[in-house]
Symmetry: C2
Subunit: 309 residues, 2 copies
């Protein structure tokens, strides 16, 4: 018998999440049935990554690492469905936690969002906000690999310095610029072909006026609005959409589930070659998971926020 620690939500968030909204429980797991596996969490994020501890399923061997979606818990019994083994070409020297970040769901979000939604082309100018986050930092680096000029915005000078270090052409701290409008104009006086939007809200209302004719906006996230109790309002988008003939498209990465292998292979190659740099914000200890989650929503992380169990 194994005791699993599990974080549960006591009640739905009202406004911004608080640590008191979460409860840490212990549960006894039953013995394995035929075909089942016992997983042990090694790294967690919103989508946890686990190690196989016990297996009654011939497709998985004990000790293998898999990506699983089984909630915030230390142990989990799985029937083996929907588990993803790491790519076979994963180098021993590469941290396995990257399977939750640059070579995982956030990296794929950057990859498909830029290629399929922004339809980024050589020589274009790409704007990305929350640029030092798990997705944004990959967006900027992929756009550089694709021969584009990249402008990134982040919420601290430390993050801005990081963006410049990993190759962004222009980067600024949106919290300290006198005028976002003016900062966007200075960073690219000709405007932007592609805008990879992780933030939404007021940022987007200003950025939309800096799009070039036929510009494309990939709506990946809206972190400025997720914790609103009353929906915020801003200027209607139709007039700039018409006059600049803009495209705006929302997307969720699972749309390309059938192409994950292609995406992961490409990302892994660029990481191994050093063309895409990775940074992780690691919080130690399963007990600190709500704190890591709240910190991520506040933008305290540089790169992917990971919890090491």
């Amino acid at each position: 018998m194994v005791t699993a620690k599990v974080w549960v939500l006591k009640k739905h968030f009202e406004g911004f999440p608080k640590t008191s909204d979460f409860d840490l429980k212990k549960i006894e797991l039953p013995n394995l049935k035929d075909g089942e596996l016992l997983l042990e969490s090694v790294f967690l994020s919103v989508d946890p990554y686990m190690r196989i501890v016990e297996s009654n399923n011939p497709a998985f061997t004990v000790g293998a690492f898999v990506v699983a979606r089984s909630g915030w818990r230390t142990h989990f019994i799985s029937d083996g469905k929907d588990l993803q083994l790491l790519p076979s070409s994963w180098p021993e020297s590469l941290p396995k936690s990257l399977a939750l970040g640059t070579v995982g769901m956030p990296g794929l979000t950057a990859y498909f969002g830029l290629l399929e939604v922004c339809k980024m082309k050589l020589g274009e100018t790409v704007l990305v906000n929350a640029a030092a986050g798990a997705v944004g930092s990959v967006v900027g680096q992929l756009a550089k690999i694709g021969g584009c000029k990249v402008v990134g915005c982040a919420g601290s000078d430390y993050k801005v310095a990081y963006l410049k270090k990993i190759g962004f052409d222009e980067a600024f701290n949106y919290k300290t610029v006198v005028s976002l409008d003016e900062a966007l104009r200075q960073a690219s006086p000709d405007g932007y072909d592609c805008f990879f939007d992780n933030v939404g809200g007021e940022f987007t209302s200003i950025a939309i006026n800096h799009m070039k004719k036929y510009g494309r906006i990939a709506v990946c996230g809206a972190i400025s609005q997720y914790n609103d109790t009353v929906p915020q309002k801003g200027p209607y988008v139709q007039v700039p959409m018409i006059f600049k003939e803009l495209q705006m498209e929302g997307f969720i990465v699972t749309r390309w589930n059938n192409r994950w292998e292609e995406g992961l292979k490409a990302l892994l190659k660029w990481v191994v070659e050093g063309k895409v740099k990775c940074h992780e914000q690691v919080t130690e200890g399963f007990e600190n998971m709500p704190m890591a989650f709240i910190g991520m929503l506040k933008g305290e992380n540089l790169g992917k926020a990971i919890v090491k169990v």
Copy 2:
């Protein structure tokens, strides 16, 4: 020497246009130079349609009808560039004013907006607002030809009756329904694949929540906002855009200038076959042009608003 009457704008509109914003002037036109033509207005809309009165240009014969963009005036001297002759297959019995409406720019807007922006497919459900207008009435009828279910909204019971007469599956008066949200749900409980948006503003904020997953919104016009002195605000669009993975695209019909022949040929064929019905709101007299323009902005027209000189 010919005296032309010309409507000029005395000053830029503040808020909604008033007849006092316009001035009717008379100007003497010079004699024709080589290659020039004298045009006489027959029907006017925002883009005037004219007859050739005198020609020093071998490509155009006196008495021919052309579509020209030369402002609000009775006569105009042209060098022949950017004039469009009517399609050669235009039947004698068909009103030539349709070249300003269903078989002209508004019809092409419906055609390319539905085919290229909405990417309408057989069996889908299409929503169109300002549905009794020059563009909307064609949108609905083309969607029916394409095998779709069509829901239209208009601002009077008379217009709603017209929409049902020309084949819309569902139509309602958005000004008198108790709840637009409820009316949209009743008209298509499963939601909408395509939304051809001529209105923008609050209508769009409500309609966006009725889109199906992967729905497409063609932003053609925003008549609810054109005369705002202070831009209106509404809920940000990012959250519904992401969770339903919606596409929204603004467009101007001139994007497909190189395909106008294709579009006009298709529209002319459907009109001649009786598959697309046309209605025009004709105002008699050049002097009444500002009134016709203001009436159009107020939604007083059924079908295309035309001024007969």
